[in-house]
């Protein structure tokens, strides 16, 4: 089950988030929801999961020429 871990420092009000349990770049969808509400992060790092392939691969249709 995917989960997002948020930590908020009470002394500064700064927030960090880590998305876990999502393979591949789909976690970007989650971060997009958050950045819509708080703005662009100061720092962003992709975890190892980001570089793993998702178990369900999107179907790719070949382009027909002409």
């Amino acid at each position: 089950m995917p989960e997002i871990n948020f930590t908020i420092d009470i002394q500064t009000g700064e927030m960090e988030m880590k998305v876990e349990g999502i393979k591949g770049p789909r976690c970007v969808d989650v971060t997009k929801i958050v950045t819509e509400l708080i703005g662009a992060p100061e720092r962003e790092e992709n975890t190892n999961e980001y570089f793993e392939r998702a178990s369900v691969r999107p179907k790719v249709q070949n382009k027909k020429n002409g």
Binding site: M1, P2, E3, I4, N5, F6, T7, I8, D9, I10, Q11, T12, G13, E14, M15, V30, I33, V34, E36, L37, I38, G39
Partner: protein
Amino acid sequence: MSKYLTFTDVVFKDRELLVAALEDIGCNQIRQGENLEMGSYYSEQSKQKVAIVIPRDSIGNRYGDIGFERAESGDYIPIIDDLDRSRALNGKFITQLRTAYNERVVKKVAARLRGTIHRTVEGGVVKIKVRY
């Protein structure tokens, strides 16, 4: 000297969440609108037009109102009197507001994802896990 300062490095993107966060930290006299004038109680306080006003004397802001200006980007930027920075919520107005706002952000994200929330506080850090 008493004068209004604009905190351009602290922005809030969502008005609804900002107002909810202000209520969470004890602001219960919030005025909202467009081009609301902040009070000018001292000659050094320049006229400010804002979208949200927390009236003077409501959360320890002895010297002036607290306002939120809507920038062209749509972000809301706080404006506080220089002398109220150390007085509003005992000098913790901005940090408490950021904390409350971020907690509201997490709740909204969880609702959008139809997820569950598990919240703990450990050593000055709020930890929130959202499962979906």
